[in-house]
């Protein structure tokens, strides 16, 4: 409609409602953890460790609750009572992102998939041994859901799936795939709608998509209702064609705290002798090579993590993306320039050569030969991609920017590998809602980004250098709908912003 737009009165009412519920329920968070649904006998005995959490710096808004080291996912985004602009509430969303990061990277319970071990005991997190499985790492993999061919995906609690690419792999260990072009839709070495990434050690980067219990079960459907099995295209399509498409479960505080859908995408690179693993979250993995049909064990280093959480009232999800700090050089306006990491950057050689127009120097072939080449050790390793960050980590609002939150949380997490991670950006719908509650409109029904996607903020430039390396500029990302999480995933709006569901249902 006519512009300039302002936040409509309906939206303001909505926001006030959010605030009310947020304030009303915030104090309940620690008592509504998913683990609370378990019998007491299955819960580990709590042994809380007192951790002194430093206060926020003076510039942080008072509407942001104190930071906490616990494994409890938030059930609402805390917001101020008066909202004048999306920029004003960036700190609230960055807080939400960091608390989600901590909760999802909390050591996982050994007895219950997708739940934290002693979530209220900070020492469990702060003293976790290297390679300890974390909550999101025990979520079901997209292969578990979409790669089972004619078989029904196993239940959430099942330790294995009917089809696994690597035999004799310990339950829960990651299987990362190197696939050749055309092998499968699960192109775990190609970035979404794009190309592979090759690190400075000439190794491919591997991608890992996982869904939490609510989302997995929603797509898997109910055993007694085959029409609810949405991993099957015949069941998905009618639901996609509904006015607002598929609607997955949403985290809500009403009537009780209920965890909704969370999808996570991680980027891993292979650990080599040249790497300092103490700066990374590491995991044991099996690298499946579809050419040789064999699996090779490896230790992988977490270099990027997307978190998308559908949380009331943000029907268009809240999108957070993190990176390991050694990926690429810091933003050019950082002064003084920090010294390069001791073992060099993961995706940059530390010099200005080669040139990185658009944030990269070249796009590797879709099916590069891994290093070393299976069966042909003499074949040269692929050339590393030189990567730089085009979209700076936000330095606004002044005094409480994403950079400021990073500095705070990195200090808070000192002594753990998580101090070496940084929030790159949080993106959320500023004017969320569907139907009578908001403007969400599917593209096929005339919706236009960003308005139709709930007025995404920031509109552009929300990418991760390890997962959208080649989509950092608007020009390069035009084919993906834009250079942000929401502009891209809005194109899968009929599948509730899930490209996995949209593209991998069969």
């Amino acid at each position: 409609m006519g512009k300039t737009q302002v936040l409509g009165s309906r939206s303001m009412v909505l926001i006030f409602a959010i605030v009310f519920f947020t304030i009303a329920n915030y104090g309940c968070q620690s008592s509504t953890n998913p683990t609370d649904n378990k019998p007491l006998s299955q819960m580990a005995a709590p042994s809380p460790t007192q951790v002194q959490v430093p206060p926020w710096p003076s510039g942080f808004p008072t509407s942001v609750p104190p930071a906490a080291i616990n494994g409890n996912l938030l059930f609402a985004v805390p917001l101020p009572t008066t909202i004048n602009s999306p920029l004003q509430i960036r700190p609230n969303f960055d807080y939400f992102s960091w608390q989600s990061f901590i909760a999802l990277n909390w050591p996982a319970s050994a007895s219950s998939r997708g739940t934290p071990d002693q979530p209220n005991n900070p020492s469990v997190f702060l003293s976790a041994a290297a390679g300890t499985p974390v909550v999101w790492g025990t979520y079901k993999d997209s292969f578990d859901l979409f790669g089972q061919k004619d078989q029904r995906p196993s239940s959430w609690d099942s330790p294995s799936s009917p089809i696994t690419p690597c035999s004799n792999v310990p339950a829960g260990q990651k299987v990362l795939m190197f696939t050749t072009k055309g092998d499968t839709a699960l192109m775990q070495t190609n970035q979404a709608f794009s190309f592979p990434l090759i690190d400075q050690r000439s190794n491919l980067v591997y991608y890992d998509v996982r869904y939490n219990q609510a989302q997995y079960n929603f797509v898997r459907g109910q055993d007694n209702d085959p029409t609810s099995w949405l991993y099957l295209l015949k069941n998905l399509t009618p639901k996609e064609n509904a006015q607002f498409g598929v609607q997955m479960p949403m985290t809500t505080t009403a009537p009780t705290n209920t965890l909704g859908s969370i999808m996570v995408k991680a980027a891993w690179r292979i650990k080599t002798d040249k790497d300092d693993a103490s700066r990374y979250y590491t995991s044991a993995a099996q690298i499946y090579n579809s050419q040789t049909k064999s699996c090779t064990p490896a230790t992988v280093l977490l270099v990027g993590l997307h978190i998308a959480h559908k949380i009331d009232p943000f029907t268009e999800w809240v999108w957070s993306t993190f990176e390991q700090v050694d990926n690429v050089p810091p933003d050019s306006d950082i002064s003084p320039k920090p010294a390069p990491p001791p073992n060099g950057y993961s995706f940059n050689n530390g010099t200005n050569t080669p040139k990185t127009t658009g944030g990269y120097d070249y796009k590797p072939a879709l099916s590069p030969t891994p290093c070393p080449s299976p069966g042909n050790a003499s074949q040269p390793c692929p050339k590393p991609v030189q990567v730089t960050r085009i979209n700076a980590i936000p330095n606004t609002p002044t005094g409480a920017s994403t950079r400021d939150f990073n500095a705070y949380y990195q200090q808070l997490l000192k002594g753990t590998v998580w101090q070496y991670y940084q929030l790159v950006v949080t993106q959320w719908p500023f004017n969320p809602g569907i139907g009578s509650n908001g403007p969400f409109t599917l593209m096929q029904n005339g919706g236009v980004y960003p308005q139709g996607a709930g007025s995404a903020f920031p509109v552009n430039g929300a990418v991760n250098t390890t997962m959208e390396t080649y989509f950092q500029t608007q020009n390069d990302a035009a084919g993906a709908g834009g250079n942000s999480c929401m502009s891209c995933h809005y194109r899968a709006g009929q599948s509730d912003f899930s490209w996995g569901l949209n593209r991998r249902a069969h």
Binding site: M1, G2, T4, G358, G446, F457
Partner: protein, 633 residues
């Protein structure tokens, strides 16, 4: 590849046997000689100025209220018409006449055909629809089966041409067909001897009508062209028809027969005449023209004072670098015959009067090819002299003497660096045609022939100037920049350097920019975008990747409207380019470098602005009607 090929990505549909809509053949009443006002034809009038003054739409009226942020100009109706709109609507007497490029609800149920809707502008109600099926022998190589021109509404009739090569006259009130003349296949009942289907059997497209019709000031003759730029064996013709009967008055072939000698009207290529001898008044040329192509797609302009018509022409066929792979390039310009230029004919007789071809030095890059003039000429006066303005895909803007077609002045509209060097990302010509968004050096672009997708594909709009405003405003032209984005080189224009619409000071000797610019490199308009602090949206020029002004702007009083490939519509202050208002019509189609989306320009009638588009979803098309709403009590 030209714009037709680029934008024609709509899926082909099953072709059914040819079947016409209910045909009422007859004769229209004699013309009255009174031309209507308003947006009754392409760009508002036979001179195609695109200027409207009998409207309350002004800067003051549409500027949003600073307190609420809302503008009185709002979307009154958003209509789904059953297919994409690939043309500017016409508006007359409170009704919109808009054609569809493809119509999904054809009477035969195949979805292969076209339609023209008549819509009440005040209620948004479609009151009549005229539709046609398309037979298998009429399948359009661009997958378009409907129409792509602006209808002309005059003397109680609606006139338009379609992609099936037929030219229709309908009753304005009922949309019942009065007559139809086939301009692709011989139609001797209408004194039409041409059969223009060479090469169709080899897979090339048949002759189609893209041009919007124009009528003489006395209402006794109408002009339309029929040809095809993508078929190296196809001829191109300009037809003069009797508006009352559809009978052909004269025909001019734009493919020159003999070097250095203009064709005579009514001398027809023998290969395009099946029935010999042709009807009285026609003769045949038994030979090969010196060049094919030279098709007229842009609307023909008419000037009553000189009694001339002006016909923009496309590129020659074959092109010198059509199959280039490596080695030295062959400059396309100068090109043979009436290619890449503007042809002037006597409106009464079709006699050749003058021809202008864009000069080689006007190219943005020496390696530009597939030059084309896809825009319509605009006729106006400059210092008491009748001039014709024409814009070109090579980025050129030309002011020509209307009589001789000699250049009065010209400029390149695409930006350069301040030191005069090319901008790498403007009009890039990658050697690797398959690479998506490659980074291309100037050296590579200048030595690789390529189509200029950043130039001008549509018609300039005139603001005639004013001295009764708070300050004097000089006459100025507004030109949409950029073509289709359905190609690998880049998603549309280089949005960071190139405005999607230029504003040119018409009085300036060097045609300088009419709006204030910054001091950057390259210099950009200062006021044409803004950040909406409440939404965080950066709106306007230089903000969205690939957003092209592949449209014909329209000027109403002191406001210029422009539509884009995003697909959006904008209003700017003609004085300084301040962004006043904008709206989205829809999204581009999905995938591949952003897909594609088109709105070829707004139509303005009284206090209404109407724009149709090709968009994602919604049967591929949408029509929005905007109007002034009274402020809330």
């Amino acid at each position: 590849m030209d714009k037709k090929s680029e934008i024609a990505l709509i899926k082909r549909r099953t072709v059914a046997p040819a079947e016409e809509a209910a045909v009422i053949t007859g004769t229209a009443p004699a013309a009255t000689g009174q031309l209507p006002s308003g947006w009754w034809m392409y760009h508002g009038n036979p001179e195609h100025t695109g200027y409207v003054s009998d409207s309350d739409l002004t800067v003051a009226k549409i500027t949003p209220d600073p307190k609420t942020g809302t503008s009185p100009l709002t979307a009154l109706f958003t209509l789904q018409l059953g297919g994409p709109v690939l043309s500017v609507p016409a508006i007359a007497d409170g009704f919109i006449y808009v054609g569809l490029a493809n119509y999904h609800q054809t009477p035969d149920g195949t979805g292969n055909g076209g339609a023209l809707h008549k819509i009440d502008i005040q209620t948004g109600t479609t009151v009549q629809t005229f539709s046609w099926n398309l037979g298998g022998d009429n399948e359009d190589a661009h997958s378009f089966s409907g129409m792509g021109c602006t209808p002309m509404v005059t003397n109680d009739h609606v006139y338009f041409g379609a992609f099936n090569g037929k030219f229709y006259c309908l009753n304005k009130d009922t949309l019942e067909q009065i007559w139809v003349t086939d301009l692709r296949n011989e139609d001797l009942a209408h004194n039409q001897p041409i059969t223009n289907i060479n090469g169709v059997g080899s897979g090339y497209p048949a002759a189609v009508i893209w041009t919007s019709p124009v009528i003489s000031s006395d209402g006794t003759k109408l002009y339309v062209a029929c040809g095809e730029g993508e078929n190296p064996q196809m001829y191109s013709f300009v037809f003069c028809l009797d508006p009352a009967t559809g009978n052909v008055n004269w025909i001019y072939c734009t493919n020159v027969y003999c070097t250095g000698k203009a064709n005579q009207p009514n001398v027809l290529p023998a290969q395009a005449v099946q029935t010999l001898p042709p009807p009285p008044g026609f003769s045949v040329f038994n030979g090969e023209p010196i060049v094919m192509g030279c098709s007229v797609w842009g609307a023909i302009a008419y000037d009553k004072d000189l009694n001339r018509i002006y016909c923009p022409t496309g590129n020659q066929q074959p092109e010198p670098d059509g199959n280039w792979t490596e080695g030295p390039i062959k400059p396309e310009l100068p090109s043979p015959g009436f290619s890449n230029g503007l042809l002037s004919l006597d409106a009464q007789t079709g006699e050749y009067k003058a021809f202008f071809q864009v000069p080689f030095e006007s190219n943005y890059r020496v390696s530009d090819f597939d030059i084309d003039i896809g825009s319509a000429p605009v006729i106006t006066n400059l210092d008491g002299r009748k001039v014709v303005i024409i814009t070109c895909k090579n980025g050129g803007f030309f002011v020509l003497d209307a009589d001789t077609l000699e250049i009065v002045k010209w400029r390149q509209l695409l930006p350069y660096h301040n030191d005069g060097t090319w901008i790498e990302t403007v009009d890039a010509h990658p050697r690797d045609q398959n690479a998506l968004n490659p980074h291309v050096s100037n050296e590579e672009s200048n030595t690789t022939p390529g189509e200029n997708f950043s130039g001008v594909f549509n018609t300039a709009a005139l603001y005639p100037g004013s001295s009764d405003n708070p300050q004097t405003i000089s006459p100025r032209f507004f030109i949409g920049m950029g073509g289709p984005n359905y190609h690998n080189a880049s998603p549309g224009i280089d949005y960071q350097s190139t405005p999607f619409m230029r504003a040119i000071d018409f009085n300036s000797a060097t045609l300088t920019d009419a709006w204030p610019m910054d001091n950057g490199d390259p210099r950009k308009y200062l006021n044409c975008s803004h950040i909406d602090d409440t939404m965080g949206i950066y709106a306007g020029m230089y903000t969205a990747a690939g957003e092209c002004g592949l449209s014909s702007p329209a000027v109403v009083n002191d406001v210029v409207f422009c539509t884009t490939s995003k697909v959006s519509i904008y209003a700017f202050d003609v004085r300084d380019g301040k962004l006043l208002w904008w709206d989205d019509l829809g999204a581009q189609t999905d995938g591949y470098n952003g897909g594609y989306g088109y709105c070829l320009g707004p139509a303005i009638w009284k206090d209404y602005v109407v724009a149709g588009a090709l968009v994602f979803g919604r049967d591929g098309g949408v029509l929005k009607i905007y109007g002034l709403t009274p402020p809330a009590a």
